[in-house]
């Protein structure tokens, strides 16, 4: 990998928006929603009102209070951030980014800050500060790797989350996120990709036929089964783009023999609230609770290969869902349990390529899903190579925190955000041998596919269940894979 040139950096930051739109928004960032709130001149006051309201009703106040007292500005986080490593722009240092919000808190929400402000005639929060925050909080991929090396234990990811939440309350949100959320919460389809239920049914029927042909076994996608043990909720984009992942999931369910279902009332695990709004986060999860209630699910919610969907459900579902608490399981965790119970049989001869595994931040940073996928991989793949930073210390794909959904910043993501990841993947490739990168997360998949394409990395991006699908043996004759007929 060549080092980033000034020209590449400039190109990555290019703003394709019309000058008059930028003028109207007063945000020199290319992907923020154009909103009626932004036209007035009172943006700082609106920001402070939103911040005050959030601090009043949430837990953030004591967190900020703690952080302003402990932050020692040691700059150890500089070596952790893949964005800063690529840009070398001081504004991309995690601690610098957090200070943008901490100083607003210190100035406007503490007695000492308010007094000092009055004594020194400090005007406080300005329009420029808001612009800085709008830029900075969406340059961060919210991967939370910096928290690992912060001696003061500051979670810069949480500050980014809060900063984005406040900004969203005054209408500053990337268009792609808000459009998807709107469709999911108040649209007709109730999912971020606007897939109507009949289209979902068609897709699943087609996949069932495909599985019957390639695996030689009737594997079903059960829909709306009342009283099922598990409800399966993948990222909705899997239904459109990751057919093999879904078929892999279905095959694992088939092998375990558990009763499971996909609910037509809520089949989208995507929760952009995790990235920018506590309100959206809660609403999406309460919709999930309604579906669990409707289908009388007995044992648990299984989330598909998606990092943020898994994290938002695992760590927030039971926090919000008062009436129907339910264990939340990631599909790799489920498959791993099945493997340990001896329910999965694989053909080791199917995958001959070199394989490496990318840890999605949202499931690996907390230590939740690290060993399970590796044990699954080792159960049927011989040539497995680890990247240099793994598990809790894994490097972000570069599209975290919702930024992957913003197509207009693809050059930014695949040069700056994903620079370190591209280097990592390249290092695991063996000369003359085909290579797979496993990215078991809908966000990471999209980002890594684009990264591999833009950086010309000789690797193919797959999901873990894509490979499970190919190697799992379901039929009695012991054949894992039958070449489908008549396609070519």
């Amino acid at each position: 990998m060549k080092p980033l040139t000034t020209e590449t950096l400039e190109k990555a930051f290019e703003i394709p928006k019309k000058p008059e739109v930028i003028e109207k928004q007063r945000l020199a960032v290319r992907y923020h929603i154009e909103d009626k709130h932004l036209v007035d001149n009172n943006r700082p006051q609106k920001f402070l009102e939103a911040m005050a309201a959030i601090l009043k009703h949430s837990n953030y106040r004591f967190v900020l209070d703690h952080y302003i007292r402990t932050s020692a500005k040691c700059s150890r986080c500089t070596v952790q951030c893949q964005v800063y490593e690529a840009t070398k722009d001081l504004r991309d240092i995690p601690c610098y980014r957090s200070e943008l919000l901490l100083k607003v808190y210190r100035r406007h929400f503490t007695v000492a800050g308010t007094l000092r402000g009055r004594l020194t005639n400090d005007p406080g929060l300005t329009d420029d500060d808001i612009e800085d925050m709008a830029r900075s909080f969406y340059d961060c991929t919210a991967c939370r790797r910096c928290q690992n090396e912060c001696p003061a234990g500051i979670d810069h990811g949480m500050i980014t989350h809060l900063g984005r939440y406040i900004l969203s309350e005054i209408g500053i949100v990337p268009r792609a996120l808000v459009v998807s959320t709107r469709e999911q919460l108040i649209g007709d389809s109730h999912n971020t990709s606007a897939i109507p239920v009949p289209a979902l049914k068609d897709t699943l029927e087609f996949l069932e036929e495909e599985m019957a042909e390639t695996k030689g076994v009737e594997v079903k996608f059960p829909l709306d089964v009342e009283g099922a043990d598990y409800i399966f909720i993948p990222a909705v984009s899997d239904f459109l783009m990751e057919a093999e992942t879904l078929m892999g999931n279905a095959c694992v369910f088939h092998a375990t023999g558990d009763s499971w279902t996909i609910g037509t009332g809520d089949f989208d695990g995507i929760n952009y609230g995790l990235f920018y709004s506590d309100h959206v986060l809660e609403k999406v999860l309460l919709n999930m609770e309604k579906e669990v209630e409707r289908l009388k699910i007995k044992k648990g919610i299984i989330i598909g290969e998606c990092g943020h969907a898994s994290r938002s459900a695992k760590f927030f579902y039971n926090n919000f869902a008062e009436r129907f608490p339910m264990p939340v399981i990631n599909c790799m965790e489920y498959a791993h349990d099945a493997l340990e119970a001896g329910k999965l049989k694989f053909d080791r001869s199917i995958i001959k390529e070199t394989v490496t595994y990318h840890d999605p931040c949202n499931i690996a940073r907390s230590g939740w899903i690290i060993k399970q996928p590796r044990e699954l991989i080792k159960a049927f793949i011989d040539d497995f190579v680890e990247m240099d930073k793994i598990g809790k210390d894994a490097v972000c794909c570069g599209g975290g925190g919702g930024t992957v959904s913003l197509d207009e910043i693809r050059p930014y993501r695949t040069t700056i955000g994903g620079y370190k990841k591209a280097k990592q993947i390249t290092a695991t490739i063996k000369e003359g041998k085909a290579h797979y990168t496993i990215g078991p997360c809908a966000n990471c998949k999209k980002q890594l596919k684009e990264l591999i394409e833009d950086q010309n990395i000789p690797s193919e991006l797959v999901g873990l269940h894509d490979l499970i699908y190919r190697a799992i043996i379901l039929s009695d004759d012991g054949v894992a894979w039958r070449e489908p007929e008549g396609i070519f």
Partner: protein, 237 residues
């Protein structure tokens, strides 16, 4: 001069010490009660206590962390903290002062150890200051207090070293002692109100960063209403 020294050693010290202790208790209590409140408001009470305790200790004794990021800075910083904590607490002269005033005391360091540790602390403070000034990243992050804390903390160490080695301070002993006392008192008063408060807050940090994610139920709805938005349609711009 004698009187000023006595004042600095007696009433002023007691005042500054009390302010430091009370200030730190207040600061600690704020974070602790905030933490307890947040935990109670959480819908789900699952917290990875074991992990957090492990993480907290790994930062309180951060030897294993040195090589993971900025190793040179980390080593100097650890040495600095060792000197900073041990010398003031276990210097024989300080221990004797405690014994004389409150009637009890604890063991003290041999003088030669205390002297060497003091020199190490002064050098590491100097290096930390140079590190902060010379690194563009650290400069970009630093506020005023980040620059003046290392020299301010080194001052009582430097003057204390001179005082305990009479041959070095024979001519100006009283002036040096005065600076030692007043700078140390100033440090104590400043501690609870500046970043040095981390000396009591650090054990809570990992818990704050974990429990902080336990968002209370209904926050979004309440925020929306407070901001005068009627429904989700208005909320999602």
């Amino acid at each position: 001069m004698e009187n000023w020294i006595e004042f600095g050693r007696g009433p002023l010290f007691r005042l500054c010490f009390a302010l430091m202790i009370l200030g730190l208790i207040r600061t600690f209590a704020f974070s602790l009660f905030g933490l307890i409140g947040a935990y109670h408001r959480a819908g789900e009470k699952v917290v990875p206590w074991g992990d957090l305790i492990k993480k907290t200790f790994s930062w309180l004794i951060p030897i294993g962390r040195i090589w993971r990021a900025r190793p040179l800075y980390s080593i100097i910083s650890i040495i600095w903290h060792i000197g900073l904590i041990i010398v003031p607490l276990f210097l024989a002269a300080h221990v004797t002062l405690w014994k004389n005033s409150v009637g009890f005391a604890w063991f003290s360091l041999p003088q030669i150890w205390a002297d060497n540790l003091t020199i190490v602390a002064i050098i590491s403070a100097l290096l930390l200051f140079i590190g902060r000034v010379s690194s563009k990243e650290a400069r970009a992050l630093s506020r005023k207090q980040d620059f003046w804390w290392p020299p301010l903390l080194a001052l009582p160490f430097f003057t204390g070293y001179l005082c305990s080695n009479i041959s070095l301070s024979a001519n100006g002993y009283q002036v040096i002692m005065l600076i030692h006392l007043y700078s140390a008192n100033l440090v104590m008063v400043m501690i609870p109100f500046t970043k040095v408060a981390h000396c009591v807050l650090l054990p809570l940090s990992q818990f704050v960063s974990s429990v902080g994610w336990k968002f209370p139920r209904g926050t979004g709805e309440k925020v929306m209403k407070t901001l005068g938005k009627d429904n989700m349609k208005e909320e999602i711009a």
